[in-house]
Amino acid sequence: MLSNRREFLQLAAAGAVTLGAQGLAPAFLRAAAREASGQNNVLVVIQMSGGNDGLNTVVPFAEDRYYKARPKLAIAKNDVLKIDKRLGFNPVLRGFADLLEAGHLGIVQGVGYPNPNRSHFESMDIWHTCHRRSEDRNEGWLGRTVDQLQHAERQEIPGVHVGNDRLPLALFSRSHRIPSIQSMDQFHLKAKEEESMQAFRRMASQSTDSEGSMLDFLTTSTVTALDVSQQIQESIKSQSTAVDYPQTGLGRKLRSISQLISADFGTRIFYAEIDGFDTHALQAAAHTGLLRELGEAVSAFVEDLTATGNLDRVTTVCFSEFGRRVAENASEGTDHGTAAPMFLIGGQVQSGLIGKHPSLDDLEQGDLKFHTDFRQVYAGLLQQWLKCDSEKVLGEHFDPVSVIRKA
């Protein structure tokens, strides 16, 4: 299947297209320029909310301690999808195992941060902002990234959050409003009468308030919503996909992201969430259901990106706010823990295991010790993939993890 951009260029060459008023066509032209300068890479972040149990995702099946700590929840050695002689995927992660086989999946092990916080909200805020509570937390790491990317080259829609939950703090930016899009077909204004639409746009754009005030925030957010929804409605009509996505929440979100990547608004950052990983009780059924949803949706996404020729310019990263306690609790679940793996997916990621599995013999208060700071992974993504200054985004230097395969 041809990408929209290529189709456009062919049509344009044939004289079949006139440049539209909505700024869509120039985006295609700019995309060509971006491709030449290497500023065309896209980052997709998948947030696994609630605290994913890393030990039952990437299973250390050669460790007796794992089976001792989890008499009810451990996954049998014979069931895992083997990665190497010591580690294997949860059996429902067939999609991840296939991606690993194809060289499209990296597993960064033992990721966390010093003095881990076991509150969902506090830990999530730390991952989103890279700051502790005592520091300024009005913007997120991706918001700061957007500011930097926009400064280099302005895009119409620099980032998109796909979902109907609140905008993740990671995407908060001082200077840009990142739209949240629940679904493509709902993302438009219903009022149709031309006169009222124009009047509304005029009225909504009037703000006499100072920048950053509450009214100013509402005004710029409203104008962004009007602009972005109009652009998306006009371009998305022509997007269809040959790939069957699973009919799950994450499947639908990744399908929307693939459509938006193909439509090419110059968007560099996408964000989607899958919730429910807080498995304090009866973990087995819930956790396998979530991992299956994750694996199947990501597989379909990669298949789609391959078909549209975008796989090499899209990197997806999966994270959770913390892992879970090594020992299971009495409710056949696990409590909040610390270090856990992150996943990288794409045509150019460093495939395979990155770093070693945290030791099950050397625990801290019953939790795994991290050896890789999540900000080192961010630094790798920022420098090697988005070509950003990671110190500016993260506030200090972190030795980047090699997340992208060297050319």
Binding site: D165, E193, A330, S331
Partner: protein, 455 residues
């Protein structure tokens, strides 16, 4: 009279507001009170409130009791909803109370506690248990905080939501102990991981069986616990008491209530909250006097408070109908709140709704505009039982200019800017379509404007 915004004098802030002239006590002040203490008020209520003092208004509000009529129609609705399975009609049941009820501050506080002790029907799928918790929260909404926490700790819906309906001696489940301190009483970081583990031990043996709380002595760890600076063979109740006794508890609750009623932004510093926290503690954690104090204070009526709240979806939608004596299809109205980001009985997670800027993003803003578009396009949506045009006539609003002016007074926390005012007047005077449709369309645009999203 207002000090500079970065240095609010706590003593001034919480002293009763005493207006000295008509400028200090206008329709705008009264409308502000009703937007915050309730869901807005119609023209008549504003006129009735104007002769009352700020303290009288607040005192009346904390002692409201719902009318027998609304209680009985609410009960009838419960019966019919439960007969039909009910989980997904729970939001409509509550919206009915919000639209019809007269004890609006109690409902507003019940929503506050629903967000505070968040429990979702997405996980606890039993409507009876959710309604039972809702009754508990409403009963204590302006009562005794300690009693409420004790009851919530044994509430089946809460324990099921936090996976704590089967807490065993070996490997105690930490979830409830953690959320009790982090979200319900003290605030994040006001305890150690050690305290969580010890408090979790206090709760061992707490179970839910056949939808009722039960203590199972065989599963209780009766060893000595070390919780904060105390040691003893504490059970769950004692654990709760020790936590409630911490000075951080009244601070945390008072601070959260100030943010709920006064301002989303611009208020900071523990010193500002401290006098309220001290009073709250000395009153034995009585909620009504605290709320009364906040709602009649200098700060509440100051520039630090005016238009400093983002309307929640409930305030946005319910406030609109209540202010204009509106009525509509209850189920459709209630369900559309999901896209706006606040479906009652279905909070997003145990932290409830964070509110503030988090209510606002491009999807929720479009959803707000689309909800009003649909609401006003529906013929079932009536105002004072009739057409919108008839309603405006009955209020004596003579021409488009006056309509826009009165709507601004009723609905907006800030004056409408003159450009928008002119646009709206023109839409009413010369737009296409019949006058009723024109009026409704203009009103839908009016409440989609950025300025209406502030309260």
């Amino acid at each position: 009279m207002n000090p500079a915004s970065n240095s609010i004098d706590p003593e001034w802030a919480w002293a009763p507001y005493e207006p000295t002239g008509a400028e200090d006590w206008s329709l705008a002040h009264v409308a502000h009170f009703h937007r915050r203490a309730g869901f807005g008020a119609n023209w008549q209520t504003l006129q009735e409130s104007l002769p009352l003092s700020p303290v009288t208004l607040a005192t009346q509000a904390v002692s409201q009791v719902e009318s027998a009529e609304v209680e009985s129609s609410s009960q009838a609705l419960v019966t019919s909803i439960l007969a039909a399975g009910g989980l997904n009609q729970l939001p409509a049941w509550w919206i009915h109370r919000l639209l019809q009820g007269s004890a609006t501050l109690r409902e507003k506080m019940t929503i506050f506690w629903h967000g505070h002790f968040a429990t979702s029907g997405a996980k606890v799928r039993d409507p009876q248990l959710l309604l039972r918790q809702n009754r508990l929260l409403r009963e204590h909404a302006l009562g005794d905080f300690a009693a409420m926490v004790h009851e919530v700790s044994k509430d089946p819906a809460m324990l099921m939501y936090l996976d704590s309906d089967s807490n065993r001696k070996v490997h105690p489940n930490e979830n409830f102990a953690r959320e009790l301190m982090e979200l319900f009483t003290l605030g994040e970081g006001r305890y150690s991981e050690q305290d969580i583990r010890e408090l979790a031990r206090c709760f061992t043996g707490w179970e839910v069986r056949r939808n009722e709380y039960r203590f199972n002595p065989y599963q209780h760890d009766d060893g000595t616990k070390r919780l904060f600076d105390q040691r003893g063979q504490f059970g769950g109740e004692q654990g709760v008491d020790i936590v409630l006794d911490r000075e951080d508890c009244p601070r945390f609750i008072a601070g959260k209530l100030v943010r709920y009623f006064v301002a989303d932004e611009g208020l900071s510093g523990e010193e500002l909250i401290e006098p309220l926290a001290v009073e709250f503690r000395e009153s034995g954690l009585q909620i009504a006097p605290l709320v009364q104090r906040i709602l009649s204070s200098n700060l509440f009526y100051s520039e630090h408070a005016r238009a400093r709240k983002f309307r929640s979806p409930i305030e946005f939608a319910v406030g609109f109908l209540r202010t204009l004596d509106g009525s509509t299809n209850l189920i459709g109205f209630s369900n559309s709140l999901k896209d706006l980001g606040q479906l009652l009985f279905f909070p997003p997670n145990v932290k409830g709704w964070n509110g503030g800027r988090e209510w606002i993003n491009s999807s929720t803003l479009l959803a707000r505009a689309n909800m009003m578009h649909d609401l006003l396009a529906r013929s079932e949506t009536r105002f004072g039982g009739g057409d919108l045009q008839e309603y405006c006539d009955s209020q004596g609003w003579a021409d488009p200019e006056e309509v826009v002016d009165r709507l601004s007074t009723l609905l907006l926390a800030l004056p409408l800017n003159s450009e928008a005012s002119t646009e709206l007047t023109q839409l009413l005077e010369s737009g296409s379509g019949d006058p009723e449709k024109r009026l409704r369309r203009a009103l839908a645009l009016f409440v989609s404007l950025p300025v209406y999203q502030l309260a």
